[in-house]
């Protein structure tokens, strides 16, 4: 199963980008995330794996405070990015989210044109000096999202008229366009064919050169291919976290092993 195509030279030597301590998440009464501690490195791809419903998305959404938007959700504990507590009162969630981009599990393009979907982030962050700059950014993002060829002739038709996989790539392009420092991707390749998947994986590897990427995936192969670190969640607990190699070849926890070998889900 080991198929890590890319160098993993300096993973462990990377500084910690995101540090979470005893994070708990509740949806109303139900306890979705239990006491998670994790350090996520900079310039590293970290994969979250685990059975469906175990809390991967929930934890991911804690990192850029998207859970703030769910009334029922309540987060406790301590999450630091670059040493700063992101749940501190002084932290502006907006600034945080500009820094920590996100691709959602269900593709959610704006009901606007493809171009405007991608240009939205750069516009509100003032990343483009002028129209041609913006065109450039949009094209670049769409290329990185591996969708440029399919949409270049219909940039101004609505993003909601795309196929499922295309929408997913559009959302990736949209997230990449704002150049976040951390990119959270919730199953970014679930609707993609192998080629597109490979292109997105390439993108992830490229992003790793400068940023920290966290990816949720159900594909063990993908986790093995793209990530240097892997975290395994089960029933809201972070069961095991370590180098991807180790997790897949020498899991310490029996639950991890069961999952990887396909016995629990």
């Amino acid at each position: 199963m080991k198929d890590n195509r890319y160098s993993e030279s300096d993973v462990t030597t990377q500084p910690v980008k995101i540090a979470a301590r005893s994070v708990q998440v509740y949806y109303g009464d139900s306890h979705a995330i239990r006491d998670v501690d994790i350090d996520i490195n900079d310039k590293t791809v970290t994969a979250f794996i685990g059975p469906s419903g175990c809390g991967k998305s929930t934890f991911l959404r804690c990192i850029n405070r998207m859970n703030d938007t769910i009334d029922a959700a309540r987060v406790t504990g301590d999450i630091r990015i670059d040493g700063e507590d992101i749940y501190d009162k002084r932290v502006d969630p907006v600034q945080l989210r500009a820094k920590v981009g996100m691709v959602f599990q269900k593709p959610n393009p704006f009901p606007k044109s493809i171009y405007d979907n991608v240009a939205y982030g750069p516009r509100i962050h003032g990343l483009a000096r002028n129209k041609s700059d913006l065109d450039e950014i949009v094209e670049q993002a769409l290329r990185r999202g591996a969708i440029w060829n399919e949409v270049k002739d219909r940039l101004h038709s609505p993003g909601t008229g795309l196929s499922g996989g295309q929408q997913q790539r559009l959302c990736i392009a949209r997230a990449v366009a704002t150049e976040p420092e951390v990119l959270l991707m919730d199953e970014p390749c679930s609707a993609l064919d192998p080629i597109a998947t490979a292109q997105v994986e390439e993108l992830i590897d490229e992003l790793r050169q400068n940023y920290s990427v966290v990816i949720v995936t159900h594909s063990m192969q993908q986790a093995a291919r793209v990530s240097q670190k892997t975290a395994f969640f089960h029933l809201g607990n972070l069961v095991e976290y370590g180098d991807t190699d180790d997790i897949f070849t020498r899991p310490k926890d029996p639950r991890t092993e069961s999952y990887i070998t396909g016995r629990i889900g």
Partner: protein, 451 residues
Amino acid sequence: MSDIPNPAAPITDPRGASLLVQDGRTKRRNAAEGRFKLYGIVAITIGLLMLLTLLFTIVSRGTGAFQQTFVTLSVPLLEDKLDKNGNRDLEEIKKVSTFGYAPLLKAAFETKVEDTGIETELKSKAMADILSKDAAAQLRDHVLANPELIGSVVEFEFLTNSRVDGYLKGRVTRESIANDKNISAEQLDLVDALVADGSLAKRFNLDFITGADASDARPEAAGMGVAMIGSFAMMLVVLVLALPIGVAASIYLEEFAPKNWITDIIEVNISNLAAVPSIVFGILGLAVFINYMHLPNSAPLVGGLVLTLMTLPTIIISTRASLKSVPPSIRDAALGVGASKMQSVFHHVLPLAAPGILTGTIIGLAQALGETAPLLLIGMVGFIASNPPESIAEGLMSPNSAMPAQIYEWAKRADPAFYERAWGGIIILLVFLISMNAIAVLLRRRFERRW
């Protein structure tokens, strides 16, 4: 309403059945479908039929108001009546009141009868009575504007009184005037003769659309123009205040307000305000804007403010409903790329909610445009025959009425000619309303989309 098929009904297994023939259950469901769709069509048809009936009533009763009967007369501007001293001093000419002009009109009729050889038993006073009371005022205005004409004979086109006008429009007949002391059969004979002579005829009356109100004694001279300006000024105030305030309040309540009891109080309050009878807003307006803030009586500005308060709940409720219907994933998507809450609302949620907001605005404005009761208390209902204002500020501050108030007033007056004008006024009001709606509808269509 629920017609979830009765679970006790025999279970039909469609397996293997042909698609080309509908099984019993599908037939039943399709019949339900057909019925359901039919209900929709029936509902719309009822709505449109009612609209049609109302419009037909309005138009058939109101179009007459746009025409008026005029009579052409040559009036000798007798010097001994208008300028006894003959020095053409305007101040002295002014001293002659409209009552003093009656002899000129009588004289004009005498000449007319002589010139055309119409035979009539009528005294000259009775002949002049077929004219509108407005004629003397018209004459006086003209003389004051052109004092040099005194002594000459000038041709005028005068309004006839409302009975003569009704006679030409078929509303007044020789039978119906049996007990009427305002007009006699002989006078109608004279009218017939004048019609034959070509000097008395019905024509389009622009003054109805542009003119000011007239007193009960001269319905034929009353117009909608000034009230229209009053309504326009009020709508301006309502639009400028109610739309932004309403949308702002809704955004706060729906998107930003913490979910606590204060928000609940505000929310309940707003729905409650929608149920407050409009006259109560008049009481409020009188207390706050006139007695406390000392804004002038009868001013469209005050009317606009009162109507703003009255319209706000409608706009807020509809805006909130449409904001609520924007799916959360759109907000998530915007927040996810680092948009602030404010940006996500203004860039994505608001445009998607725009159709509903516009609908609320249309309905709210329509309601405000047709409202009379609150205006009663702030002095905008009654006889207000001001001149058309010269500036926007004057339009907002100087006394004025409003279209529905004018219509309401007319509908109450005794002379049946006002009744026709009330319906005519409703036509103008509706044209006003429809053009206002058309703009909003066009805007709404631009914003509409389904995803």
